[in-house]
């Protein structure tokens, strides 16, 4: 990573000099810019045949302009020509007339601070024909795992090379190049006289050659096959065991709890006085750590150029910090945390969660094993429809899920069900953790036991 580009589609110095000239011509003295470009290729297959192959070259910029009254305007465009840059700058200047005088973003004080060194090897793309061969073989292997698996209707293998830049008129210059690859396989299985079932898996890596395709096949097959023997579940309250992925999804959906922007906007369940209060059981830690080596594609800096960092959100169940942009940090009298987007009103969001037991706390009930429980256990493998079923500002959720009911150590897939509750109650009803923390695309988390959740089934 460096502050200059010499091998890719974006040239920071050219962008800077071009913008500076246009800004000077238009009487703009203060500006900043976020730019990104990427080249993607991807393939999909259908029962041994290539289905769709895609390629994309994308570029985009967002510029912010501070007018003479100090108000901020923003404009985005995919047109990186000189005319496009000029239109973007002048558009942002026009929009600045409508800037919010009560909430004016400034340059991050950390926009020139040193960045963490990330181990992100750049890989050359394999090319679409090799991707196609790999995916066809993967599909064939998955189809061969069980007679009931008839198709893999959702599948894809993709490579991406990307670059992003942050510049500002005070001289900040951030630049990061990245290569990533991903594979996903979602199989559909159906046995005679029974309903179709589906499950899948996804893997990420810095290059296609490093993708754990075999692991993806194994996980997709095991999950799909495990749902063939299903039964309805009776509606009631159950102790639930969330998979790492499911619990991370749930915490992510309620991340406004930790979001200073949401607090200031009045749409978080937290408020300014919440820091230091207990939100969860005393043995739960949640950190946001975009720098974790398991976070494939981590960004070294946020939309305002602030370095990414590891941040304690909950320690011992107590709320320790909020996620901040420059503006929210200023409002709270603290420093930005590296979680900002870019805009006239700057968004704030999490990077990558680390969830687990508080060191020295014992981690709740010891020795939890869902297969040795004395009561029926609902094992929630994946949650669906979070966009519709989560009311983040109210704390409530009602979500369909895939999972199993475990009785006497025997798991049986649940035909169709929803899990409902309140996130505040969930955080206080955690019994403990099972197994080692697992790295997923959204974070690091063990399986989490929560008691007394409401399950609606069709029995």
């Amino acid at each position: 990573m460096s502050n200059t580009s010499n091998s890719s589609g974006l040239n920071a110095e050219e962008l800077r000099s071009g913008l500076a000239a246009i800004a000077a011509t238009n009487g703009i003295r203060r500006w900043d810019l976020g730019a990104a470009c990427s080249t993607d290729i991807s393939v999909q297959v259908d029962r041994g045949e290539p289905k769709q192959m895609k390629g994309a070259q994308r570029s985009s910029i967002t510029v912010r302009v501070w007018n003479d009254a100090g108000l901020v305007g923003v404009t985005s465009t995919s047109d990186l020509s000189e005319a496009g840059l000029e239109r973007a700058l002048t558009g942002a200047k026009e929009a600045s007339s409508f800037g919010n005088a009560d909430d004016i973003p400034a340059f991050s004080p950390l926009a020139t601070a040193p960045l963490a060194s990330l181990d992100q090897p750049l890989h050359q793309p394999q090319g679409i024909l090799r991707l196609l061969d790999t995916l066809k073989a993967a599909e064939q292997e998955l189809l061969s795992r069980h007679d009931a698996i008839g198709t893999v209707p959702y599948n894809g293998l993709a490579e991406r090379s990307s670059e992003r830049i942050y510049l500002n008129s005070d001289g900040a210059c951030r630049q990061q190049q990245l290569s990533t690859a991903s594979v996903y396989l979602y199989a559909r299985a159906e046995e005679t006289g029974r309903k179709p079932r589906s499950a899948g898996a996804v893997r990420l890596a810095y290059g296609a050659a490093d993708l754990d395709v075999a692991g993806c096949i194994n996980e997709a097959a095991e999950r799909t096959i495990s749902h063939l023997n299903y039964a309805p579940i009776e509606t009631g309250r159950y102790t639930c065991v969330f998979s790492s992925e499911a619990f991370l999804d749930l915490i992510g959906a309620f991340s406004s709890l930790f979001n200073a922007r949401a607090v200031l906007d009045g749409v978080s369940l937290s408020n300014r006085d919440s820091l230091g209060t207990a939100l969860a059981v005393p043995f739960l830690d949640i950190h946001d750590n975009g720098l974790h080596p398991g976070n494939i594609g981590a960004s070294a800096f946020d939309g305002e150029g602030t370095p990414t960092q590891r941040l304690a959100l909950l320690e011992g169940g107590v709320l320790r910090s909020f996620l901040h942009s420059e503006a929210t940090a200023r409002a709270f009298g603290t420093t930005p945390t590296g979680h900002a987007g870019m805009g006239a009103k700057v968004s704030v969001g999490p990077d990558w969660f680390e969830i687990g037991a508080t060191p020295g706390s014992g981690g709740g009930q010891a020795g939890l094993d869902r297969f040795k429980a004395g009561e029926p256990i609902v094992w929630i493998d994946s949650l669906s429809a979070l966009h519709a079923g989560v009311k983040a500002s109210q704390g409530s959720f009602s979500l369909p899920f895939d999972g199993w009911l475990i009785r006497n150590g025997e798991p049986r897939s649940i035909e169709a069900a929803t899990v409902a509750g309140d996130i505040r109650q969930v955080l206080q009803a955690i019994v403990g953790f099972e197994g080692e923390a697992k790295i997923t695309p959204d974070g690091l988390c063990p399986m989490v036991w929560v008691e007394g959740l409401s399950i609606t089934g069709e029995a």
């Binding site: 994309a56 959702y154 805009g343 369909p400 609606t456």
Partner: protein, 488 residues
Amino acid sequence: MPCGAPHSPASSRVIAIAPPEPGALDQRWSHALEDLLACGRGAGADLVEVFLERTDHLGVLAEQDTITSVTPAFGMGAGIRVFLGHRDGFVSTNDLSPAGLRRALEQALGMLGLAPNAHANTGFEGLPALRDFASMKGDWLQRCPQLQEATTRLLEGTDQLQQHGNHLQVRRGSYARDWQEVLVAASDGTFGRDIRLHQSVGLNVLAADGDHRAGVGRRYGTSDQPDDLRRWDAGASAAEVCASAGTMLYADYVEAGQMPAVLANRFGGVIFHEACGHLLETTQVERGTTPFAERVGEAIAHEAVTAIDEGLTGGAFGSLSMDDEGMEAQRTVLIQNGVLQRFISDRAGERRTGHARTGSGRRQGHTFAAASRMRNTYIDAGPHTPEQLIASVDKGLYCKSMGGGSVGPTGQFNFAVEEAYLIENGQLTKPVKGATLIGEAKEVMPRISMCANDLELAAGFCGSVSGSIFVTVGQPHIKVDSITVGGR
């Protein structure tokens, strides 16, 4: 027409960079596009399609009594798609220079193992005269409210919320204007141009009183009506949102279980959209993920149900003059009195499944290949009054306002209910919250046993394989004899 011959008339033509003025994607592109199409056909492609796009977006957010965000954005790009048999390669780019477009085409050809051949007989006779659906739309962008007017209207909206609501912790208004100019050319002689304009305005509140909280929002949207924001009745919208928030603030959580449900009109149509509409797209037939693939001519729903997907209703969010593959919009009867009539199909769907195109090839923009997608989709009106439906239920749920939903690869759907009431002995009683309706299309469609006579449409957004698009959902009040209600 040869391709890539260094001195041929075709290759000497310049593919121009899109001019910046509105209406600039027009017939002046014809020669450049012919070059690309001829090149693709000469390489051996069955069909080549070029989609050019220019966009202009404005987003405005008002919170309480302040404009907190103004977000203009503009862009341009091309999507080039090449078919060979059932396969296709698709490449998108922001680079509309001659070299950029040529590079994208060659990349798409390469995906199918094809390469330009300067000496091949292309079999391509050139493009016909442009079918210009945009000829009367050139001033739409200028006729839309400018920033000052848009911000003023939004602040009227948040002020109206304050006047109509109680216990409001957050008041928000948002406005989005999306202008899009497209030019579509294909080697089968398609050559069409259109300008689309979508505007929507939304009001949201968060009401809070002690531990009680209720978040309610509504969004209103139209297409192709530059004056829409000026005509918006902010007071009526605010009154509707505040009434709902006031009701739901103290509502109890719904008790879970199986029960009959009456779903209100307008956005209640999301149940058909999610439960059945997606399964009638040929993308689902291609994947083998619809239970209805072989059931044309068979009853798949109760005989009370007639369902339609069309792109013709004036001003509706999902209406369009031509789809993103250059085909004129149609009215497609999907289900007639419970019997499946046909599928929603695009170019790829027609090639892969045999179902004729219905003018439903749609995409969010140039970075997506078109796919078969819904437009204005609704259950048609029936003979009953809404009161008759409610009176027919002893104990059940009345779903007055629906949230979003989704459908999975096995046909299982779900959607959230924003505002609901218990039905007891044929009467609406207390409000309840936290309900989620889940089920499978194959099982629920036969249970829609009554349709009322009050069909209304509502604007929405649909995210799927070709991105997020503008759609309309709709229905009259309908009764579902039994459905699973998730709750606490």
